[in-house]
Amino acid sequence: MGIARIEELVSGSADAVRIPLIGQSLCAGFPSPADDFLEGALELPRWLAPNPPATFLWRIAGNSMHGAGIFDGDLACVDRSLQPADGSVVVAAIDGEMSIKRYRLEGNRAWLAFENPDLPVFAVEELQDGVIWGVVRFTIHWHTAKAALKR
């Protein structure tokens, strides 16, 4: 948690969009039961998250994607409005677990693969509909070994 001046807290930064970009969400008919529980949405700049309602952040756990530069503890920005193509990194539901994988497509044949030379080649063949949860736009990796404020 950094230190922020009150003015910058109140105004917020102009080029950040909230995910999602919420307009007026007051209900005209029934009062929303969520009213007392609403929280500020996670913020990302518009150029990184062009489609806020379809954009979700996930946390990565595990080491099977080192080859793609994705590490344990990273954050993945996942866009559900993107169609996966050969080479996309995707979040997919496999046997009731959510996992991050490389999507491969050759002709009509699609499969998912790990990306770590230490791991056996693993592939999920014959992807069913709805297995792909979303396409990873980018991931966030922290390089700070120990975050301390320089004075």
Partner: protein
């Protein structure tokens, strides 16, 4: 071009929100419980098939849920509110005018879409919402809000329709109106239903064909308006700007029972602080706060007490600290020390009924509150809570949120997947 209104709503909305982030819930019976894990308020089709009724008390169905493998969740309103905002953001890509009717239902004005394109557009809307947010929906189309709501009901109950029913299509309109019972209509309660049945009304078409004027006597102007709406004459415009709040209430059941004054005052102070937040969000203020607390009618044979008192302020305010002072004063002046058997309070709240826009409200001559100082303080408080999460900074009287053991219970609540970095869903690599 003829008017076309769409009503789109999320199927088993709260359960669907849970399913988006947990693939294990696909195809399984799922229910979501109300505050304090009281009753089932959302059920998937699989849960309905097991005979779980809307509003069923959880203690009555707990054993059955365990035996049948029903997945049970406390309500995660932070998540549902965020998912609701996302679906509405998608709706706005399809329609210029959107009325958010409730957390999971919105009316869309599709009048500027060509008649022959409407059905396909509704299907496209469903598919897009499903793909982008993961929420399954149904769409009802009609020339009026009443007919759109009816069409939505048909789309939901007749699976063959593929989630879309279009009553702007004369063939569909003629087909369905004589087949749907009048009791399914939006706004027909039990009392009106009895009156209509006495008049020989059975189907929606029967009601439509009544002479509106005599109906007005039996069912007031609401019934008359309904007949016009069923005939395709729009009487209910889309409410694009929610009406200004006239009153505001923050009331909660305690997780257990409260018997001591300190805890009661803390709860009332927390509610007053929340009231202040709500008023500030809308730029409103109040110069009167009603404070109430009472025992539970379920605690048969125990001493009963119900207190409600009005506390006046010198001028309208939305300052949490001033509201807390007023609310706790309300408790102080009505508190009665318990005798042998204490009063076990089950619920407390603060209510305001005459809100005014704060900027235009008259200032007091005597006892003026310090708006100039309190404004920036409250703005900073709200900004901190927006940035670091609700309850990050609270007035001391309201107690730390983590230590409020009287707070409403949500014991089986899933993480706030979409609004808290600490709660993000996890993907295995």
């Amino acid at each position: 071009m003829s008017r076309a209104i769409a009503l789109i709503d999320g199927n088993s909305f709260y359960c669907s929100c849970e399913r988006v982030f947990d693939p294990k819930l696909a195809g399984k019976p799922v229910i979501v419980l109300s505050n304090n894990d009281g009753c089932a308020i959302a059920r998937t089709a699989e849960a309905k098939a097991l005979g779980i009724k809307m509003g069923a008390p959880y203690f009555q169905i707990r054993d059955m849920c365990r035996a049948e493998g029903v997945r049970v969740f406390s309500s995660n309103y932070t998540l549902y509110g965020d998912m609701s905002a996302r679906t509405n953001a998608v709706y706005r890509d399809f329609a210029r005018d959107v009325e958010i009717y409730s957390i999971d239902e919105s009316f869309l004005d599709l009048s500027d879409v060509r008649e022959r394109d409407r059905f396909a557009l509704a299907q496209d809307l469903r598919a897009t919402v499903r793909a982008w947010t993961g929420i399954p929906t149904c769409v009802g189309l009609g020339p009026t809000k009443t007919l759109a709501k009816l069409a939505n009901h048909i789309a939901k109950t007749v699976p063959d329709l593929g989630g879309v029913c279009d009553l702007t299509d004369p063939v569909q309109y003629d087909h369905w109106l004589c087949r749907i019972h009048v009791g399914e209509l939006w706004g027909i309660g039990r009392a009106s239903l009895a009156k209509l049945e006495a008049m020989g009304v059975d189907s929606v078409a029967d009601l439509r064909d009544l002479d509106p004027r005599p109906v007005r006597k039996a069912l007031t102007v609401v019934g008359e308006r309904m007949i016009h709406e069923l005939r395709g004459l729009s009487c209910l415009p889309l409410e694009l700007v929610p009406a200004r709040r006239k009153g505001c209430a923050v009331t909660r059941s305690f997780s257990g029972r409260v018997t001591d004054r300190e805890t009661l005052e803390e709860a009332v102070a927390a509610h007053a602080a929340r009231l202040g937040e709500k008023l500030r969000r809308d730029g409103l203020g109040t110069d009167q706060v009603t404070v109430f607390y009472h025992t539970s009618e379920h605690d048969r044979g125990e001493p009963m007490r119900s207190v409600s008192t009005v506390v006046s302020l010198p001028e309208a305010t939305s300052d949490s600290l001033a509201l807390i002072k007023a609310a706790t004063h309300g408790v102080a002046k009505t508190w009665r020390e318990p005798g042998q058997v204490p009063w076990r309070y089950s619920k407390a709240g603060v209510i305001t009924t005459d809100l005014v826009p704060l900027a235009e409200s008259p200032r007091a001559l005597i006892g003026r509150l310090d708006r100039e100082r309190s404004g920036p303080l409250m703005a900073a408080l709200d900004a901190c809570n927006a940035r670091w999460g609700r309850g990050a900074v609270v007035p001391a009287r309201a107690g730390l949120t983590t230590k409020r053991d009287w707070n409403t219970k949500f014991e089986m609540r899933t993480p706030r997947y979409t609004t808290q970095v600490s709660d993000l869903p996890v993907a295995c690599a």
